[in-house]
Symmetry: C2
């Protein structure tokens, strides 16, 4: 994407971001390593009993691109649906270096101590290209991953952001049916994955690191507008003053935006994940938001809108994937695009040529 | 769309905004009123000769949803393409009441006096629902519409924003081939149409009206980030002081955003379309931007990116339209969506059911 402010223009195009890579299963769960496939009923029973091993195996099916796996996965999701929806869903984003892992570890550990069951999921479309997403590295959250009440899952790998996001959205259903009270969806904070995460969570937290001078420059356009709250991390040591300044900067910046439809006024707090200070304040903000939006009806309204959104998004992704992953189209696309970039052929004629080629196969 | 900050999430969904309405031709150019269809060569020759009547008839074909019309339209566009690209393309948006029509009339009249050929196009997806877009009302621009050098065209009507935008984008090619130096693309300033306009213009102007108290509250999220410049209109009479205050507010707000990839720093100017003051300053801003971006190479790079974007956008729109305008799908969609909203069926199973129904027809 050449210009950040154009990200949203390209939303209809996300599938294309993955065209270059063939679909593949999550590198952390290669088929050969996998447990044998069970009957749908076995997964459903295991999940409803809160069996983490079974849950993990079911998520692997959700993430798989094999039709046989998908067939079972859809049955399991459908059966789990009536038992889902009871968790608090929190999206957490922040630029690399903001300390997301450390923050989630600190927050998660406290939640688990409070007997909360926490699932940490991730959306990182780059995981495919980079083979082994940074969000896939469990060793980042060593303390948390030892907790019985924590379920940490790396980002699914897929041919497109749409695919990655859909799988994460489906995994939420399974985790909630397995009795998790809190779902954290982590994103890398570098683009469209935020939009996808925002469309599946109740509260969207922007984790910001201070000490970079102008704190606002690092933020991807549009992300601050999505945030229901901002946590300024690394408010420790020589950073404390800078963090307080940043807090004021964000306060002023947030005041410029219209009140979101939730009626909630986003605000910024400081914390130090390393020193475990202020993390409680962040969580209190989340809980206050839940109380506030459940009272004014936005919470339910937003979830309904999200369900509708995901139906259309799934349809659209499937239609586009079928086209862009079609072998003939994949073969022709590069040359056609090049001709358009050389202005030898109009965008529209190029599009129609490819569509005719596609439809003649059907 | 329930929440403004979610607009970009729905970019993949714009086609659905039109599902409820059957495709129809532009209400201003009903077939029965229409001139007889000519051979492609006749349209091409007329357009290249700058014949406004022929241009207007060709645009009608571009806007038509009849396959026979589209076949001719695509031939004409393709032939005009080598002669297009020489105009300055300016997008103008602003909330209703900002005085867009008066401003465009004032600016356009001056441009025409300077012997510039000006085409005013519009993108207003609501034109379909409201039957007769506000942007279609030529009487708004009485002075300008009497100018020989002005070509004013209402928003095309179509089944979706994507369709409306594509037709406007194609019309730009024809207008440029007909020798227009300046293309203004007007949008209603209430949502996604801005993104569409932004993706087809060189300079994007936000027209803002003052006197509303907090000038920033009225702005749709994301639109200010798109603006290459802001014109604060109605800087006249008792409004002058307020306008100057607003100018400062915008200056401060704009300073919070990262420098766009163009390298150009957007700024705000005041003007009064009614008193014809400051309109020259706005145009000087546009001309300075053109000089600046042509020098640093962004101008060309941006147009190339836009051409690529429109190829993919056209493909995606076509794939989605084929699905959502399929009679069986149109019949099933409402009930399925209702079931999802009642949480009786998962978003994903609902999507797969509809997709299976669609694919079994192919």
């Amino acid at each position: 994407m050449e210009h950040p402010e154009n990200d949203d223009q390209y939303a209809g195009l996300v599938v294309n971001a993955g065209v270059a890579q063939p679909p593949s299963v999550n590198p952390y769960f290669r088929p050969k390593k996998r447990a044998p496939r069970l009957a749908p009923e076995a997964y459903i029973e295991g999940i409803l009993n809160g069996d983490i091993t079974i849950l993990s195996q079911a998520v692997t099916l959700v993430e798989s691109n094999l039709p046989a796996d998908q067939a079972i996965a859809q049955k399991v999701i459908e059966a789990c649906l009536p038992y889902s929806g009871n968790a608090i869903r929190v999206g957490i984003t922040g630029v690399p270096g903001a300390g997301k892992s450390t923050f989630i570890e600190a927050l998660g550990t406290e939640l688990c101590k409070a007997a909360q069951k926490l699932a940490v999921l991730a959306i990182d479309p780059s995981s495919e290209r980079s083979k082994g997403s940074i969000l896939g590295d469990k060793t980042r959250m060593q303390e948390l991953s030892t907790q019985d009440n924590a379920f940490i899952r790396p980002s699914p790998s897929a041919g497109s952001l749409g695919g990655v996001a859909r799988k994460t959205r489906e995994t939420i259903v399974l985790c909630e049916a397995a009795g998790f009270d809190t779902i954290i969806v982590e994103t890398v904070g570098v683009g469209q994955s935020e939009t996808a995460a925002h469309s599946m969570v109740d509260f969207f937290l922007l984790l910001q690191v201070t000490g970079t001078g102008d704190e606002l420059q690092g933020i991807k356009r549009g992300i601050m507008e999505m945030a229901d709250g901002i946590a300024i991390n690394k408010c420790d040591g020589s950073n404390v003053d800078k963090a307080r300044v940043a807090k004021t900067q964000f306060k002023n910046a947030l005041a410029l935006f219209p009140t979101p439809e939730s009626g909630w006024h986003p605000y910024a707090v400081t914390c130090s994940a390393v020193e475990h200070t202020g993390v409680q304040d962040v969580w209190k903000m989340v809980e206050d938001y839940m109380t506030f939006t459940k009272r004014n009806g936005y919470f339910k309204r937003n979830r309904t809108q999200q369900a509708k959104y995901w139906m259309y998004e799934t349809i659209n992704q499937h239609l586009l994937d079928s086209f862009y992953h079609n072998p003939e189209i994949e073969a022709a696309l590069e040359d056609t695009e090049a001709a358009v970039l050389r202005n030898e052929i109009s965008s529209f004629v190029a599009a129609h040529n490819l569509l005719n080629q596609y439809n003649n196969q059907q």
